[in-house]
Structures are given as C-alpha cells and as structure tokens.
C-alpha cells in the first residue's frame, strides 16, 4: 500500500463517460407536469425533430455529476493559494441566504413595492462597499471583475466625452492585471505600458513621462500583481489629475486593504471590487462573479442604469440619470452573488480589518519561510501575496510548471504560475486569511521538500502529478486540433 505523507492525495477516482455515452433513448430524469390543456396546432415549418440531446434517468445524472465533482479540487478540498484569486473559505450560511425563495424566485421586473427586501439588501450593500473603500457611489451591476473594469473605462470615456474632448490613450503598468489592457481597448483606448521600478512599484516619474493631455488616465492594480503596495500612488494620482486624467484602481487585490486604506484619500477616482474574491462569494469553477464599481462624487452621474434610489416611501429603481453610460447587464447584475457578499460583510462587520491584517500576515509568513528555498525577486514587505521565481531551480532543469504539478501530489492547489509577466517563471502565492498556521506550515514543508527534490531527484518533478486521475495534458494537441464539442 502506498502511504502518502500528506493528506488529500488519495481518494475515489472512478471513471465516468460523457453524458451522451450513457444515454438510452426514452429515459428521463424530469417530472413532466400533467397536461391539462389541449394540443395546439403548429405550422409544419415550425416543427423540428426533437433536439439531439441525451436521455438519462435522474440517478444517471446524479451519479454522473457526483463522479465529476470527485475529480475537482476546491477550497473545501484543501489549500488553494492561487495568487490574485483570493481563494478564501466560502461560508456556508451565505449559500443558505442566497437560496431563500423570496430572493431566488424573484422576477427582475416585479414592481418595486414587491421587491423591497432585495432592493434594501442591494442598497445596504452599496453603502457598505462605499464605507469599506472610501468611494461614496457604487454600482453593483457588473457581472465580474473584467466587466467592472469595462464599466470603469466606459466611465472614463463618458467623462472625457462630457468634457468635450475625447482622449486616445490609457496608461497601464506592467504589474497590472491581465484583463486591464483588453478592457481599455474595448472602449477604444490605446494602451500605453508603464514600467515598474526595480522595487517592483511605479514611480511618479515614470508616469509623468508618459502622461499627457491625450491620455484618459491610468489603470493601477493596487496592491499590484507582485503583492506590493503602490507606495507612490498619491503622487501618481496628482500627476495624472494635473493633466486632466482619471485614476482607475483594479481592486481585485482589495483583500489586503480593508479598513487600512481609504481609496478616495489616495486619489483613486474609480475602483472595482471582486465580490467573489474579497467578499467570500465562491468562484463557481469560473464564475459567476460580481464586480461592483465605486466612484467619486464627480463621476457619480455616469454610473450605469438603472440605479437604486431610496425615497420616503421605500426603495425604487430609477433611470433618470441623463449622463449615465447606460445599461451593462440585462437586469441588475449577479444578484445571487451580491447576497452572499452582503451576508459576509454582515457577519464580519468592522472585523473586515482583521481579515486584511491576517491575509497580509499569512502572505508575509510564507514569504519569510520560503525565501531561502525559492528566489524572491522583490524582497520587501508584501501585502496579501508574494511572488517567487524558478531561477534557482533552473540549473536542475526544473521549471515553475514542474514545481506546480508536484504540489498537486502533496495535496495543494498550485499557486498562480507564469504571472505576473515581469517575473520570469513566476509563482504567485496568495494564502488568504482563512488558512491556519498549520496549513501554512504544511504548504511550506511541501514547497521545501520540492526544492530538495529538484536538486536530488528532478525526474519526480517532471513526472508530476502522479496521483491525479489524468497526468499532464497535451495542450498543444488541444490547440492544434480543436475538439470543442462531442
């Protein structure tokens, strides 16, 4: 018997075919309602053959997805230190709250007097996010972080349009999130890269050299993707504002700053948050997320429609904001995700500051414990995450990919790898505050073991992972001969 030194590396791994490979025509897993009306006539040209979908029983479907779930690693499975993704624990009570029939069954076009409960929840959430960020006006409509970035850029566009002269460029540092350039481009802006300094942060000088009156503003990720606070942010903001530009902050890393930094005070005009990161809503294996946007009073008129308005007789939805950028979502965004984040904020209250303190403590602890085993390109106090490189392992022909795959054998989800691009072979580790010291110590032990293995037995790393249902996948084959459906 193979005994593993770390937990989480063995378990049931049963085979499971594709849905249609277990179909038997005529089966159904659905309780079809009784027919109580006559059949209607339908013109022949409107009748197609039944769709080519598999027929399965309820138990077929239940076993199918149960087995699939067993091949997945989630936060509930084990440590998931995926940098920039803030894979913290997703409290179960939040799921319970979002599933309440009053919320889950609400139609979005019900009149306001029938939706006071959810409108109040959303209005309170906006106020709480305003308090947490320091930016007083909030829209909850963006459905994800990148949708929030887009909203921010769209507000840049509307602001400059209203000023009477559109600008063509947006500055984006090399330590910003990967979605930023694409979000700016979707509003017609050219992106201008800004190099970070040897300290891994932006200097006001680098920004001043590029900032001009044809530049709409800057998109800064703060803390940046190296896990470092942009210490010169106030001066940078001043430089940008002096030229008539705006400052956008990608707040995907806001888990480091709750109760610590006031975003308005440091000169940020627009900020997006990720409710599925900082505010503990689950990521769902890729989504749904939610990316609220917070702005200064000056930019408030541009927020998307509709907006929730509180009046003497209760909450209502209003479209009476003529300068608004318009609508971004069919209805109001991912309300189910908002309920989970609202529940989280109500459960923590002012203790959100402690969340940030412990997130930063955990990241610095990992950084200190691993910096003798892995190269730390920026050896400075970090915020919520730290970035290592594989440069010390290169001589053993071991790469970041090998290290990541070997971590899987040890029962951990790998960190974010090969990002940010400013660090070749990057390993970006974000433990989050919900990991205990024992969990961190186990991760440290696993990483140190891997560093030793790289020296002594690199083959074991090249062959990793060895305990998963499938081995390393042939991604070239997938891209050269795309098979996207079955």
């Amino acid at each position: 018997m193979n005994i593993h030194p770390v937990p989480g590396t063995s378990g049931l791994s049963m085979n499971e075919p594709l849905l249609w490979e277990r179909s038997q025509q005529g089966r159904s897993g659905f309780s079809l309602p009784r027919r109580d009306v006559p059949e209607s006539d339908l013109p022949a040209e409107l009748q197609a053959p039944p769709p080519d979908l598999p027929d399965l029983s309820e138990l077929d479907v239940v076993r199918h997805y149960t087995r699939l779930s067993q091949w997945n690693f989630g936060v509930d499975t084990g440590s998931y230190p995926l940098g920039s993704c803030t894979m913290k624990y997703n409290p179960k009570t939040n799921e319970v709250q979002a599933a309440r029939p009053g919320f889950a069954q609400a139609h979005p076009l019900l009149p306001a007097d029938m939706t006071q409960g959810i409108l109040q929840l959303m209005h309170d959430l906006q106020n709480h996010l305003a308090e947490i960020t320091g930016l007083p006006h909030v829209t909850l409509q963006p459905a994800a972080g990148a949708h929030g970035e887009y909203t921010g850029m769209r507000i840049f566009y509307a602001y400059h349009h209203q000023k009477g002269r559109q600008r063509r460029k947006v500055l984006i540092p090399d330590t910003a999130h990967g979605t930023n350039p694409a979000s700016a481009a979707m509003c017609g802006y050219q992106t201008v890269p800004v190099k970070s300094s040897e300290q891994g942060i932006l200097t006001a000088r680098a920004v001043a050299e590029l900032m001009d009156e044809d530049t709409a503003g800057i998109m800064v990720t703060n803390p940046n993707t190296l896990g470092l606070f942009e210490e010169n942010i106030r001066e940078i903001a001043r430089t940008v504002h002096e030229k008539g530009g705006l400052v956008y902050c990608d707040g995907a890393n806001f888990n480091a700053l709750m109760g610590i930094v006031d975003m308005a005070q440091i000169g940020v005009d627009v900020l997006h948050l990720n409710l599925h990161k900082t505010f503990a809503a689950p990521h769902g294996g890729g989504g749904p997320g939610s990316g609220p946007v917070c702005v200064t009073p000056e930019l408030e008129p541009f927020l998307p429609l509709p907006r929730i308005v509180k009046t003497d007789s209760g909450y209502t939805l209003s479209e009476d904001f003529p300068q608004s950028i318009g609508r971004l979502h069919t209805f109001f965004g991912n309300v189910g995700v908002m309920i989970k984040a609202a529940s989280y904020i109500l459960s923590l209250g002012p203790d959100l500051k402690r969340v940030s303190q412990l997130a930063v403590l955990n990241a610095n602890y990992i950084k200190e414990q691993l910096k003798d085993s892995f190269h730390l390109p920026y050896d400075r106090p970090c915020m919520h995450e730290c970035v290592f490189s594989d440069i010390w392992q290169e001589k053993y022909k071991v790469s970041t990919l090998d290290i990541a795959k070997r971590l899987i054998d040890f029962g951990f989800h790998p960190p974010t790898i090969y990002f940010p691009l400013v660090v070749p072979g990057a390993m970006m580790v974000e433990p989050t505050e919900t990991e205990s010291k024992e969990d961190l110590d186990r991760f440290v032990q696993g990483m140190r073991t891997i560093a030793n293995e790289a020296e002594e037995n690199p083959q074991i790393l090249h062959d990793a992972p060895s305990k998963t249902k499938v081995g390393r996948m042939d991604e070239t084959l997938a891209a050269r001969h795309p098979c996207l459906t079955g």
């Binding site: 897993g29 109580d36 694409a182 210490e231 309300v335 390393r472 459906t485």
Partner: protein
Amino acid sequence: MRYLPHTDSEIQDMLTVVGADSLNDLFSPIAEDCRRTTPLNLPEPMTEWELDRHMASLAENMGPTQKSMSFLGAGSYDHYIPASLKHLVSRSEFYTAYTPYQPEVSQGTLQAIFEYQSLASRLLGLEISNASMYDGASALAEALLMALRIGKKKSIVALSTAIHPHYRQVVATYLEPMGFSIVELPWGQDGRSDLTDLPREDLAAVAVQSPNFFGCIEDLAACAQAAHSCQALFITAFTEPLAYGLVPSPGSQGADIACGEGQSLGIAQSFGGPGLGMFCSLKKYMRNLPGRLVGQTQDHQGNRGYVLTLATREQHIRREKATSNICSNQGLCATTAAMYLASVGGTGLRELARLNRDKAEYTRQEFLAQGCSLPFSAPGFNEFVIQLPRDAEEVFARCTGQGIVPGLPLGRFYSGLEDHMLICVTETKSKQDLDSLVKEVCS
C-alpha cells in the same frame, strides 16, 4: 470569528518569523497619509443566527406571495427546477473551485463545461459554443463586436426593434465608444421583424431575436437569407432557449451566431442574475470567438481529458488585441444548464416545450374569447401580446392588487403600445391559474 483560525499565540509566533512587532506594523510600506484614520463604520458583526433572522425578514419582504400567480416573462422565466440539480450544483468541489487553470485537478469542471458546450451547440444547431458569457444582453453585444471584427472595415449593424429593449440598450453601451452605428429595424403587422430596408453597404451583421420580445417566432430562414444577401453575418438572439425544444434551431435556419440567455435551463430567476450568456457559432469563426473554450485532448498515457484551449484569443495572452476582456464567466450556471438538459433529455425537452406552447396558446384563445384582441398573428411559443380596451398599466395595477401579476405593460418600452400587455405562460401554471388570469385581466 469562526472564519479566522489564528489564535493570539500563533499570531505572535508568526509576527516573530516575519520580523514585525504588531499586525499594524505589517502595513509599514503604506504611508500615513494613505491610511484610513477612522475605523470601519459598519454594523456590529452578526452571529449566524442573527444573520438568518435579518435575511429572512428581507426575503419575506418580497412579492407576489403566491408565486404561481406571476405571468411575467420578458427575459426571465419561471420553470420547474428538479431538486437533483440544486443538490448537484451545491457540491462544493464544483462551486469552491476557481477557473480550471490546472487541468489535472479540474477535470470535473472541464468535462462538465465540455459537455455544456456540446449540448448548447446541439440545442442551437451550431458547430461550436464557448464556455459562457455574463448574460443574454452582453452575449449579443459581444456577438455584434465579433461580427464587426470579422467584417473588418464595416461599421454598421442592424438590430430588430423586436429584440428585448434591455439587450438593445446594452448593445448601445458597448458600441458607442467604438464608433459603430446601429440601424433599427421595424416589426411588421404580424409581430415579426421586417428586414426589407436593410442597409446594402457597410453592414457587418443583422440581429433578430426568436422568439422575439413579443413572443413571436421569427422566420429565421428568410432573415438569414436577407442578411447574407447583404454580405452580413446573421445573428439570432434569444431569451427563451426552451423554444428550441420545439421549433427549428437557429443553426438549421442559417444563423452564423446564436446567442442569448440560458436562465430557463434550470437556473433560478434570482432577481435577474446570475443567469447564463450562451454563445454558439459556426466553426469557421472559432478564432474570433470571445470567452473561454474547453477542448478535448489526452495526457501522456493517452487518457482522454479536457483543458482550456485556444487561449491565444483571450485577454491574458493577447492583452489589448484579445477578442474580448471577459475572464470570469458564468461557469457554474453553464454546468447547471447542462445538468438540466441532461435531466430533461431530448425526448423530454420536446414534450416540455410543447406543453409551454400549448398552455400559452390556450390562454391566448381564452383572451380572444373574452374580447381582448391579439395584435400579432405570427405563431408564438410561451409568450404573447394582448391588446386591452384600456391602459395596460391600469389593468396591471388592479390585478397586482388582487395578487396576480398579469404580465408586462408594453408602454414601458414602446410608445404606441400603451394598451398592450406581454404575458408569459410556462409549464408551472395550471389550467386553473390560466383561467383566473383571464378572468382577472378581463374583469
């Protein structure tokens, strides 16, 4: 706090390792003038039980109290959801995972999305599907941007005004800064889009919705022909994919792209989100598709498996030249939709779609018998428009007062249709419910 595991002595030990005196000391890189000076002014933390009470009171402050008596559709639909779905999608291996960047530990998510892509493509009759978009409206906006990319120098798109008004508003938001223009197409007397006046030049795409906002099933084959004769791509949008359990799929009628909202497929209405942006196209446009794609491949031992693929289209590789900025999508909702389609099955979906159509048709005829007129003659699915002898808002207010939300007064979106109401009838309504609706509206 139960989510924060650190004991005081552990914090002390860790601070020693880090070389900091206190938790505050960890933030030394942040200058004093960047710091917040006041504590967070938020309500005191609630216990789990206080939170239950608070949320219960909000959730109860919602209506209608009798859910069976709402006949609102217009982009969000009330369908039965099997209990099995809720249980399966609540498996935390699915919902607490991130985007499947590490395929060896994400085969569950990846196979589920591959299956979703396959079932979505089959339902819509097209060759490929992406892994999902935010919602129907943003999917349509992205489809139009994709058509404009494919059309290279072209700068015009034509949209039927029988497309959901909110979808058209979102499209306008997305197209404005790019300098593209939108031509609005009218609808004809039968309630279907009228494509006779399509711009002949510079036209990248023609988009219609079917069933359209009035519930009418469009003649997609004729629309496709009209679009293609102007060298434009043909895009079919939808808000109610269940219709394709019965009527010919967009792909079979000549659509190049089919996109829309998949909420009907087993996803709770949740006040409008999260839903599911569906996005399918012909394979030849694969490299122009926005969003993530899951592809089949194998490992070094030849075991079948799945990975995220063709990422060179996406923002993290192509950056400002990406086909879209989308990163997080609606993965769990796509998984739910696949669970739903698998549970209902091809045979079941046909019967379920038929039942939706028949209940709506029964109700339509009852309204006619009661003296309401049916302004649009085109065949429909589970939504239809009635014309009332008085202002629809007045009828709406009276019926909601009686506990029935009768539908959507169309004057809110279309001037000239102030006495029109859009009504949705799905399998969740019994004949008795339908009879009560007709009686209340016509009384």
